[in-house]
């Protein structure tokens, strides 16, 4: 059963530019939490993840979505016009409840690292979990991010992903109206 169709951005131009700026800044400064509001998507999609999809996804970017998001598929298809990627390896964007198996997604190639997949990870909260220490480009010193809902072996999974550089998967963590990005360049260790 699909949820009733609700509106997307109230002002599609300005709201998507604002959200784009948040994602851009989030990628440039890993771990910084941005607030994106103004979208009321159908459950279980959170509004930050919905805003990111409205801003970035379109007919040229196949989306792989976790089965839990089935009630929101109609909403995403209507507003973004994204094709469905049944095979995660063909997806440009992925939408997941918790961390998916990153090995299934396209990490790009050394010649074209920009073709890699970006995974939107929906979590219960970006604060209050076990703290992770982030270092890397965009961070003068280290910063702490404490999301709830990442697996216990996330640091090991991430080390493997970072080893693929310049290829690799980028993550956008979303919870409620908040988002933070983890680009492939960031080094993560348990704090």
């Amino acid at each position: 059963m699909t949820a009733p169709l609700t509106a997307g951005f109230a002002d599609p131009v300005l709201d998507s530019q604002r959200c784009f700026r948040s994602v851009l800044d989030g990628m440039a400064r890993p771990g910084r939490i941005h607030t994106v509001s103004g979208v009321i998507p159908p459950a279980p999609l959170c509004s930050a993840a919905a805003a990111v999809l409205l801003t970035l996804a379109d007919h040229e970017t196949p989306l792989w979505a976790h089965a839990d998001f089935a009630p929101a598929r109609g909403w995403i298809a209507f507003h973004c016009g994204v094709p469905d990627a049944a095979d995660p390896a063909r997806a440009v964007f992925a939408l997941s409840m918790g961390l998916p198996d990153l090995a299934g997604f396209n990490p790009g190639t050394h010649e074209a690292p920009e073709t890699s997949a970006t995974v939107i990870v929906q979590l219960p909260s970006l604060t209050g979990g076990a703290p992770l220490r982030l270092r890397g480009p965009g961070l003068r010193d280290s910063v702490l991010l404490a999301p709830i809902g990442l697996p216990a072996d996330f640091v090991i999974v991430w080390r493997r992903n970072r080893g693929l550089f310049p290829a690799g998967i980028d993550l956008i963590l979303c919870a409620g109206e908040e988002l933070a990005a983890l680009p492939r360049t960031v080094a993560i260790e348990e704090a």
Binding site: P4, L5, T6, A7, G8, F78, H79
Partner: protein
């Protein structure tokens, strides 16, 4: 839908007012403008070709009862697309399909026919009967 797309926004609004109290409508998407490539085919059987781009406005609304109406109209008139979408949503409600058909669609269709007939009649008056010229010569 074709009737609504050809009618003017003022005409649709006038007919909708005649329907009496309407449910509240919420905009789900748009009205927004875009381009659609119109394709043609010579003689109906030739190879398709791109005739040119047409400006199209689309709108999707949701009525208070949850029914969704969509509309695409040519041009840049957002109000026109929105009104057409509202009529689309109303038409899906089985309780008022007939009323809307009677009060909105039928008069608009009749007006469209009358407009076409008037244009055709004006054109008809200027028709040259070539046999007359032929007769004058002989």
């Amino acid at each position: 839908m074709a009737v609504l797309a050809r009618a003017s926004d003022a005409a649709i609004a006038e007919r909708l007012d005649a329907c009496g109290p309407l449910p509240a409508f919420e905009r789900v998407r748009g009205p927004e403008q875009g381009l659609v490539m119109a394709r043609g085919r010579t003689g109906g059987g030739g190879a398709p070709f791109n005739l040119g781009e047409v400006t199209v406005t689309r709108c999707t609304v949701r009525a208070a009862n949850g029914l969704i109406g969509h509309a695409y109209v040519t041009g840049r008139n957002g109000r026109h697309a929105e009104l057409a979408a509202c009529v689309d949503a109303l038409m899906q409600d089985t309780a008022c399909t007939e009323t809307v058909e009677r009060i909105v669609i039928t008069p608009l269709e009749a007006a469209e026919h009358a407009r076409r007939a008037a244009t055709a009649a004006k054109a008809e008056a200027t028709k040259v009967h070539f046999f007359a010229m032929q007769n004058m010569r002989t």
